[in-house]
Symmetry: C2
Subunit: 284 residues, 2 copies
């Protein structure tokens, strides 16, 4: 069994993938340089599962993941993992004039950067691990990322827990081409588009109201046709095998311009502290 995650070593995605792998016996881990390549590998069946970040409590939806799940890939969600994210400043330099990190991490620490490194050059990277790699090689540079990167890339922790709000959580989903039915599934994710007519979204949400279905999340993304046309990612309580949800989804599919059932899976209620996980260089 092959599990893919967003590399290089030391990313939050790897921490999430390690957590998922605890439930499995025989598996191999494989890292991918981007979310696009990771989801496409799962879509093509080159890996059995992909562990991908889908939203963060500060920065919102992960656009690439949402778009690949909605439009480009035929994948189902078979589980989710919540990971508490703590960002740190990692550097070997006394005076920091350059900050490397992934745009999401930069976004999570916007206020801290403005207050402490207002004049530093900010350089975006593909991952926090790539940022650490670059910072380790350059005088005056620092990376923003997980403390666990310090050990992997021989950097010192200059400051920790620098994110703007203490409740910084990232939600990862485990996606697969062939998702087995999940026993005890109690959450369903769908994505749908509505016609460009007055009250279209309101009417769609009334279907959940009629069936007394609780919507736990709604997020919009452009439909990629014209400006102002959206698709909506909605998570609801319950499994698509429940009678009332089955009925509601039938009507939603009938009324929508675009519809995809992304799968039913077990809700994760425990936010995992990254300190509860350990991983060593070279393990994967």
């Amino acid at each position: 069994m092959k599990i893919g995650y967003l590399g290089p070593e030391g990313t939050f995605s790897q921490l999430a993938a390690l957590q998922f792998s605890k439930k499995l016996k025989n598996y191999k881990m494989e890292q991918f340089p981007s979310i696009a390549e990771l989801t496409i590998a799962a879509h093509q069946g080159k890996i059995d599962f992909a562990v991908v970040p889908i939203e963060n409590s500060l920065e919102g939806g992960v656009n690439t993941t949402l778009d690949y799940l909605a439009f480009d890939c035929n994948l189902s969600i078979c589980g989710e993992i919540l990971l508490k994210i703590n960002q740190s400043i990692l550097s070997n330099s006394e005076k920091i004039t350059k900050l490397y990190s992934h745009p999401q991490s930069i976004g999570q620490c916007g206020r801290y950067i403005a207050q402490n490194y207002a004049n530093a050059e900010v350089v975006f990277t593909q991952s926090t691990a790539q940022a650490a790699m670059l910072a380790a090689k350059e005088e005056g540079a620092a990376a923003i990322g997980s403390e666990s990167l310090a050990g992997l890339y021989n950097l010192k922790v200059v400051a920790s827990e620098i994110e703007d709000v203490r409740t910084n959580t990232t939600r990862f989903v485990i996606v697969s081409k062939d998702c087995p039915p999940i026993e005890g599934a109690d959450k369903t994710s769908i994505v749908f588009g509505v016609s460009d007519t007055p009250g279209a979204l309101y009417k769609m949400l009334s279907i959940f109201d009629i069936f007394e279905i609780n919507m736990v999340k709604i997020e919009s993304r452009p439909a990629k046709t014209t400006l102002g046309t959206y698709v909506f990612f909605v998570d609801i309580d319950g499994s698509a095998t429940d009678e009332k949800i089955k009925k509601a989804l039938e009507i939603i599919q009938y009324k929508s311009t675009f519809f995809k059932n992304l799968g039913s899976y077990k809700q994760c209620n425990n936010v995992l502290d990254k300190n509860a996980l350990h991983f060593k260089r070279g393990r994967v």
Copy 2:
């Protein structure tokens, strides 16, 4: 009168700012290195107007802009501009092994990059103009951005109109600390948060239904408190001075956990072609 935009020279933001400035007589342009610094300058009254990108038809909301308007700054929207975006590959090298661009532009050309430059290293920059600046200095590097950057940074256009969908439009808003009432305003933007109770959003949208108000856009962003709590950016037809909209907004404010009226302004229905604009090096 001072107008701020996201620099350096040659960005799409500058094109939008030039379009806005046509309506004014005495003005000075000022460029800012980031959306954060630009909006804060307007909030502090250091500039009279800021022209900021707010959403793109392919990549969605511009997170920094939305978050600064909702949470950090006290600014009103006094106008909007729609700009047709065409992305090009700009380089002086025969063999391209590295692509520089802003994450939004990279996102807009995801499929083109995967098909044509699958093995190239992708490096994120703060703006497309910064990407052009870097690409001009480095063998094997290319920038993704507007064709107008080619002239400014002495680069050749290797390929043009490379975005994944032909309807690539960015919406810019003009924001100000002291927005005068706009004559003929026919669009209003608000942002509100709802309590974490079943059907909360549905009930909120029912207020628009009661008053027969047409919602032209809804977009969610994290409330930055806990995962799964959102605020909603909603655009509606009409001005906040209209009697029915005034009444509806009163009820929405009363029922929401967070509310901000971002202003009433004139809807823009014409997508401006960037080729209709010309600008020369050193003009600003």
